[in-house]
């Protein structure tokens, strides 16, 4: 019976409209999958060389062991916040003649088929292969593997259990994540010494097979506990979200009402962004992306100003990129309401514009901290911020007039490319190429800094003329509205 249900899930995946309806989307999904898989494999296989280069003389295996505890707690929190657990799949089988235990077993198994676990495997297995000789010398290759399997299992089911209690709108996971980042920073800079403690715990776990089985036993325990909890809460009413606990989502920003109807819509957008996993992941990622340039600190690639421009573009505009690309698709489920009530389409575009503008301003202000690492970043981030608010945002708005795909907000965030088409991929090209092209003539004549200010100036001009540009996008949308509305209504 369980195998039949698994087969259903398999069919649901291969028959999903994203995979079958459009060749471009299918190819794109395949590309993204391979891209992420390549990154994970690269990280797993390359860990040894990266660590040896960055911190010469360190024991790679021991350090990785010490870091895994941080990684696992962080992963656990990310899963709670972002992973979609398949509880709602109970519904379609609940009323049929299938035993409860089988349905619960199926749900437990299908939660393992999450891309989180797959990606983890992509990282660990190459690591084991690359480092197999050293691991064999120490006689811990197999133990190492077992510990990781156990931890993944434990992580998966613990997140499943905790997901019920944290009810996605809780702030605690984010606060703990923030604390972890601070702890890790302090740890690396020698203010505290947790990594050595973790290293010895890890060494102890891997020293013999009995200890190595501890995480696996814990994982099976979590699986067992989750089974019991699912059986007891089998009825879906128990799984309904309590809207009362949502602190951030319940925020209403009264000052936004000053923007009139656009302000009302902005308050709606903020709720949309925070209360749905996929959009919230974009918001969280844009904060995490602020740390992206740190990876390259001290590396020669930062001497290349073109690369710095790219970093500036991403850290100040990541939210706008993520949110803006799907622009109106975010509202596809309730677009008929917006299209027929007392709202002008222009107000909707204006609300989106302000949200993206404010996100760029906030991220830009944070990005100024890079002054302490490299004063050049202040200039770079300023010009790229202007470029984002004067050029990038409007490219997304133009794209919105042509993008007509429905997205299902109830779906999870990982590997979810619903609503993404080839155009979303191609738009990255002008975003990266334009600044470089604008700067090129100045750089060739020996005034690269002036070229950078030129990028900022062009952005500023775009920002000043935002009203006519938004009007143009609105008109473009109006011309194509029947097509877009029809596509938004088409359920996948």
């Amino acid at each position: 019976m369980v195998s039949t249900l698994i087969r259903h899930k398999w069919k649901a995946f291969w028959r999903s409209p994203a995979l079958t309806q459009q060749l471009a989307t299918t190819l794109l999904m395949g590309f993204f999958f391979l891209y992420f898989a390549a990154i994970m494999i690269g990280a797993g296989a390359g860990a040894k060389f990266i660590i040896e280069k960055a911190l010469p003389g360190t024991d790679v295996i021991s350090l990785v062991g010490g870091l895994t505890l941080y990684a696992l707690v962080f992963m656990l929190l990310m899963r709670i916040v972002l992973q979609k657990f398949p509880v709602s799949e109970i519904k379609q089988y609940q009323s049929h003649n299938i035993r409860k235990g089988n349905i619960v077993r199926f749900i437990n198994m299908s939660s393992l088929m999450s891309s989180w676990n797959l990606m983890l495997g992509f990282m660990i297995i190459p690591f084991l292969i690359v480092n197999h000789t050293e691991l064999m010398e120490r006689g811990i290759l197999f133990n190492f593997f077992i510990v990781f399997i156990g931890w993944t299992l434990f992580n998966n089911y613990l997140a499943f259990i905790l997901d019920r209690y944290f009810k996605k709108d809780n702030l605690i996971p984010y606060i703990i994540m923030g604390c972890l980042v601070i702890l890790l920073f302090l740890d690396f800079n020698g203010y505290i010494a947790l990594i050595p403690v973790f290293q010895s715990i890890f060494a102890w776990l891997t020293q013999n097979i009995v200890y190595a089985l501890i995480p696996l036993v814990a994982g099976i325990g979590a699986l067992f506990f989750n089974t019991q909890a699912l059986k007891q809460n089998f009825y879906l009413e128990d799984l309904i979200t309590d809207a009362g606990t949502d602190i951030v989502g319940n925020l209403n920003l009264p000052f936004l009402e000053k923007f009139g109807k656009a302000g009302t819509l902005m308050n709606l957008e903020l709720k949309l962004i925070w209360r749905n996993k996929r959009s919230r992941m974009g918001a969280i990622m844009s904060v995490l992306m602020l740390a992206y340039p740190l990876i390259f600190m001290g590396s020669p690639s930062l001497e290349n100003s073109g690369f710095k421009l790219f970093l500036g573009l991403f850290i100040t505009g990541f939210f706008a990129l993520n949110y803006g690309q799907l622009m109106l698709s975010w509202n596809s489920e309730h677009f008929d309401l917006l299209a027929t009530r007392n709202v002008k389409i222009k107000d909707i575009f204006l609300a989106k514009y302000y949200i993206m503008l404010f996100s760029c301003i906030i991220l830009y202000l944070f990005s100024l901290v890079y002054y302490f690492l490299d004063p050049d970043f202040v200039r770079i981030n300023t010009v790229m911020f202007l470029f984002n608010i004067g050029v990038s945002i409007f490219l997304y708005m133009l794209l919105a007039a042509f993008n007509s795909k429905r997205i299902d907000l109830s779906k999870g965030a990982m590997m979810n490319y619903e609503g993404i088409g080839l155009a979303h991929f191609l738009i990255i090209i002008p975003l990266i190429a334009l600044p470089i092209l604008i700067r090129l003539p100045f750089a060739l004549s020996g005034h690269p800094v002036m070229g950078e200010w030129m990028i900022g100036l062009i952005g500023l001009i775009g920002a000043v003329f935002h009203t006519p540009i938004i009007n143009y996008c609105t008109e473009l949308f109006q011309k194509r509205r029947y097509k877009i509305l029809a596509a938004f209504r088409k359920k996948t």
Binding site: I240, G244, K261, L268, T340, R341, S410
Partner: protein
């Protein structure tokens, strides 16, 4: 108030709606009746500019609906669940719709107080998102939100389906009361509901208007005879 001129809607080669001429006067309560696939929803979607007519035009207050957005100020409607915002609680949803008409919190509370009985204590003040409500309660939220902003034109598609018998009776009362100063368009499979609240009844079949009757006892017999095949 509303005028359909040479309206037709085709999907590929199949014509799903063809209304050569239809006028609706201010204050009329129209019931649109027909079997599945008769074109009721298509008719409303065209009126609300959600789909593009293949030929012809619809005017509202003299303005072509596909050319201006003016009609949105005095028109409100509830066709289906794509009018609901799933991730909001009903209270947040009413606040959102109300604020599109410049209503403040007190206006909205005062408005909702009239419908306490209709909501049967299952909707207002509950910490539940709309997506977690039952189909019937979702429908109630959509219909009451459509009454917000004091529209002059109200369009409801199948408002009685998915409601329990008591709620159906209450809804009829609501439509009669709040519809006094409005032009109302309602569609239904169920002739009895329409007869109770409308003063003019249109029967659609396969996209064509086959009857256009004043609501009188004779007309009701004619309608029953028409569907009794």
């Amino acid at each position: 108030m509303i005028k359909f001129t040479d309206i037709s809607k085709k999907y590929g080669k199949t014509e799903v709606l063809n209304i050569a001429d239809l006028e609706i006067a201010e204050g009329e309560h129209i019931g649109l009746v027909g079997n599945n696939g008769a074109g009721k929803t298509t008719c409303f979607s065209l009126l609300l500019d959600l789909i593009e007519p293949s030929t012809g035009a619809i005017t509202s207050d003299g303005n072509i609906v596909s050319k201006t957005e003016m009609w949105k100020e005095y028109t409100s409607s509830f066709l289906d669940e794509s009018y609901l915002i799933n991730f909001l609680t009903p209270d947040e949803y009413f606040n959102f719709v109300g604020s599109l008409y410049g209503w403040n919190e007190a206006d909205i509370q005062g408005f909702l107080a009239q419908y306490e009985e209709f909501f049967n204590e299952e909707v207002i003040g509950k910490k539940k998102y709309i997506r977690d409500l039952s189909k019937g309660n979702q429908k109630k939220v959509g219909i009451i939100a459509a009454l917000m902003g004091n529209p002059r034109l109200l369009v409801l598609d199948e408002p009685f389906s998915n409601l329990d018998p008591t709620s159906q009776i209450r809804l009829k009362r609501i439509i009669k009361q709040s519809g006094e100063d409005k032009t109302v368009l309602i569609s239904s499979h169920d002739i009895n509901h329409v007869v109770d609240v409308c003063d003019r009844i249109l029967i659609l079949e396969k996209g064509v208007l086959v009857k256009d009757l004043k609501n009188t006892p004779e007309a009701q017999e004619e309608i029953s005879a028409y569907f009794d095949v």
